[in-house]
């Protein structure tokens, strides 16, 4: 997988799915969900700091709450390139990989600030910021493979030989 480069946006612990995509946006058409990404975020106007390809860096339990797959879909459609967090809620983590949004457990939020430029190599498990390289457990090969296909459904179709 290619190295991911992007502007860092640092968030706190327990960023829940209602903050990532509020309940009122849930019935929106699939291709419109990106317009509502982070619309419910507490304490920060996300759109004011977001640039295309930004990397979200968060604390514990990112994506806690609902099973709504619309939450990672919204981040993916907006163009978020990666979410790094100390930890993820289980369903969000699986949903994100299944729809092709890279999410990676890396406890780095305390060392970065919003606006930093990061270069992340998920295969090697490295994050380079301001001349410093931080090392973490690399992303699991099976997860990387799903992401390279763009998600679980394209992977399954390819593996089953469905055109």
């Amino acid at each position: 997988m290619e190295i991911i480069k992007g502007k860092v946006i640092v968030l706190g612990d327990d960023v829940d799915t209602d903050q990532i995509l509020p309940g009122y946006a849930m019935a929106e058409p699939y291709d419109q969900l990106g317009n509502f990404a982070m619309a419910g975020l507490a304490g920060l106007d996300f759109k004011s700091v977001y640039e295309p390809g930004s990397i979200i860096v968060a604390g514990r339990n990112f994506g806690c709450g609902s099973s709504r797959e619309q939450a990672p879909i919204a981040l993916h459609q907006l163009g978020v390139s990666l979410v790094m967090a100390k930890g993820f809620a289980r369903i969000f983590r699986r949903n994100a990989i299944n729809i092709g949004l890279p999410v990676w457990a890396a406890d780095i939020a305390d060392r970065l600030k919003t606006g930093d430029l990061a270069e992340v190599d998920l295969e090697k498990g490295t994050v380079a910021v301001n001349g410093t390289v931080y090392e973490f457990t690399p992303m699991a090969p099976t997860v990387l493979k799903t992401l390279e296909y763009g998600g679980l459904i394209p992977r399954v179709r390819a593996e089953l030989g469905i055109e």
Binding site: G23, N61, C64, G65, S66, S67, E69, R94, N95, L152
Partner: protein, 395 residues
């Protein structure tokens, strides 16, 4: 093996398993609702298979936004109707109730059977011993196609219950208390299993409330076992039910919990009783008992949302709807109600809510600034009458 390992081994068709092992398990029931089903249907069609694994074991349920509050919401219902017509699966789209209650009433899994629902509160079925795993839409589509779910066998945290609860303490108070012990992520990728003689003091409905909120502690699976202690668990936490007092979660986390008495007196503008957490008949009974011959405080908008039509019918037979309406409260149609912030009772920044639902995240019920407290129906009812947070039984 502990019971989770035994159940998952059986579902996978293997003699033994242990925490950390990857298994492909046979699924007994699959379901989705109007927020998760439309994408699951789309994903299912993208997989390209021609039928679901067993139409009689698949249910699509319109509960989150019923009746539709927008053209878009209505189109989601049509997508579910079209799918049900084409593939012959069960469809509930006439306000029959919340998915987790309907699965109990209409498609009840046996203890140990695997239930996969595209909803985070799927653990609710652990109240009757089934293994519920909440998934997103893509995994649900795969489960509809294959009748199987791939998972990693979780480590088990065992909660060994003893004693008898006080008359003003319920399943809700127990799970809130556990939130204060474990926080929101200690149980991520883990299972929580309740055992010990104390479980006999909790009805199936109360157990469903407890299991419903396991996800708020991060749990992958939450279920009730037997009074016998389970072997091979990561840790055992013993709790004497008799030592518990009514609990309440303060804004803005379900784990931000204190005894109700510590926030007693806080003025409240809205009370909500209902949802997949606390919308069952025993919950409605707490409200009807408290409201009989009384009137809710004039400053409190009080909304009562039965979890299913069956429950609402029984409330009417028992005269509880009349009691609740005469008390100045509103009985809403069965469903998810205002729990998740799409309709039926949204807040403004001036509101402070006591709700029996499962989440009090910022903006969960409308305004980002509205303060939501989570408590039992008994606490909620006492609070509605007094206009301020009140310990039930100590009015």
């Amino acid at each position: 093996m502990n019971c989770v390992e035994r159940y998952l081994a059986k579902a996978a068709g293997v003699a033994e398993t242990t925490a950390g092992q990857d298994l492909s398990c046979k699924v007994s029931y699959v379901a989705a609702h109007d927020v998760t089903a439309p994408i699951a249907i789309d994903m299912f069609r993208r997989i390209g298979v021609k039928k679901v694994f067993d139409p009689d074991r698949v249910a699509l349920i319109v509960d989150h936004i019923y009746p539709a509050n927008s053209e878009k919401a209505r189109n989601n219902v049509w997508a579910m109707k079209d799918f049900a017509d084409e593939f012959g699966v069960h469809l509930y789209h006439r306000g029959e109730g919340v998915i987790h209650q309907l699965m109990y009433e209409k498609h009840r899994a046996q203890p140990g059977e695997l239930v996969v629902i595209a909803d985070s509160h799927t653990g609710t079925c652990g109240g009757y011993g089934a293994v519920g795993v909440g998934v997103g839409s893509t995994e649900l589509a795969a489960a509809m196609a294959t009748g199987r779910l791939d998972l990693e066998v979780p480590q088990v945290i065992q909660i060994y219950l003893t004693g008898k609860r006080r008359s003003n303490v319920f399943g809700k108070d127990l799970i809130l208390y556990l939130g204060s012990l474990f926080g929101t992520d200690y149980l991520v990728d883990r299972a929580m299993v309740f055992t010990g003689p104390g479980i006999e003091d909790l009805s199936v409905a109360e157990r469903m409330t407890v299991c419903n909120m396991g996800i708020e502690l991060g749990a992958m699976i939450t279920l009730f076992g037997t009074v016998e202690k389970e072997p091979d668990t990561l840790e055992v936490k013993e709790i004497d039910l008799g030592s518990l007092e009514p609990q309440i979660a303060r804004p803005f986390s379900p784990a931000n919990v204190v005894p109700v008495r510590e926030v007693a007196g806080t003025p409240v503008t809205q009370v909500v009783v209902g949802s997949c957490t606390n919308g069952r008949l025993n919950d409605m009974e707490q409200v009807a008992k408290a409201f009989e011959g009384k009137h809710v405080h004039p400053d409190v908008n009080t909304l009562v949302v039965p979890a299913s039509k069956e429950i609402l019918d029984e409330m009417e037979r028992r005269g509880w709807c009349r009691i609740i309406r005469d008390a100045g409260a509103t009985v809403l149609n069965p469903g998810c109600g205002s729990c998740f912030g799409a309709h039926e009772g949204l807040t403004s920044e001036r509101d402070t809510v006591v709700s029996t639902t499962n989440r009090n995240f910022p903006g969960r019920m409308g305004s980002m600034k509205a303060k939501i407290y989570l408590a039992s129906p008994a606490t909620a009812a006492a609070t509605a009458l007094a206009g301020k947070i009140t310990v039930p039984g100590e009015e």
